[in-house]
Subunit: 208 residues, 2 copies
């Protein structure tokens, strides 16, 4: 049985949703970020990066959201969460996930984790100030050039939808005007109607 | 025939090497970063992100190094550049590539592209100062927990090797002491002996 190590309101939600979508038994293990548990030896033995998500499988631990999402799509092909038989379409999906991971999530992290990239408190404040504009720019690009609709990749729901929904959920807190992102808003609504999404959110929002 | 849009000394080298490894005909198109050509309408029509690499295929453009590398490995299975039949091993490879893309390359970008994340010139200087320590930390983690040897994933060469070699090539310029990274050094040497690597580098280093 898989074990997903997660913390609420992090990118681990994407993997959590996909585990619900594929309907495999799994255990969700909360890592208490308020106690910095992700930096404790016990967790570092699972994921030396000290981050979530980490997915414990029968063969070992996997990390990095794009890798976990593709793994789950491949392991559970009946769920049809990725165009596994079409190398180009699959690459487009992987490119979308990579953009969320390496550009959008990174842009957002400068609002909360600036100390990763500078020690000067004023620099960390300067990074925070740029987050709303950067996130708005990323999502404008997504709406203009990447999002096909009604799902990310077009007519078929995929793991990219779980990931986009996860990152979209941060926008309001990051000071981005959702009114300017109609496709994103409609996608968030569509996602929140899926039972798998509701189950994952209910688990994450339950008292620890 | 594929067209690879690249600039020298960027992460596009990884895709360039893999195109040489799979021995398919392709055209390498240099994007002149010194003239900011990646921001000109002509290039933005190819890749609206204004970045390299972009791989033009018979079905359209692909971006994001991890996606391009997996696409090439899948399109040319005879080259055996990824464990395509093993979902867990493939996920480990994708996780490695994702780490290079979203953490290591990002750590490095703060030395040259700090304006992405802050407007204050002092903040940008503060980011630069942290690059050597961050890159050293990333590579220490890679050597301790990810790199199997003699290749990234173990006995078999893969697209992850082309990517690691590309990022390793930045370390000296980023002020990282290579003497403390013996596995990385040995890997760089092993890579530089491969004819495909030599051909890609020769093309990129040739006068424009």
């Amino acid at each position: 049985m898989f074990k997903l190590f997660y913390a609420p309101r992090t990118c681990a939600l994407a993997s959590h949703i996909v585990l619900e979508e594929v309907a495999t038994p799994y255990e969700a293990v909360r890592v208490d970020f308020s106690k910095n548990a992700q930096r404790e030896p016990e967790y570092l033995a699972i994921n030396p990066k000290g981050r979530v998500p980490a997915l414990l499988t029968e063969r070992g631990v996997l990390t990095e959201t794009p890798a976990i999402l593709l793994f789950l799509a491949q392991r559970f092909p009946a769920a049809q969460l990725a165009p596994l038989a079409d190398d180009f379409a699959l690459a487009q999906l992987n490119a979308f996930n990579s953009y969320l991971c390496a550009t959008v999530h990174v842009a957002r992290a400068h609002g909360r984790r600036g100390a990763r990239w500078a020690d000067d408190p004023l620099a960390i404040e300067a990074m925070k100030r740029k987050v709303p504009a950067n996130m708005a720019e990323c999502f404008a690009l997504i709406e203009r050039h990447m999002f096909v609709g009604p799902w990310v990749m077009g007519g078929r729901y995929s793991v990219a939808d779980a990931y986009l929904f996860t990152v979209s959920g941060w926008l309001e807190g990051d000071g981005v005007d959702l009114g300017k992102l109609p496709k994103t808003q409609a996608h968030m609504k569509r996602m929140s109607e899926r039972p798998a999404v509701q189950r994952a959110l209910a688990q994450e929002n339950a008292a620890p």
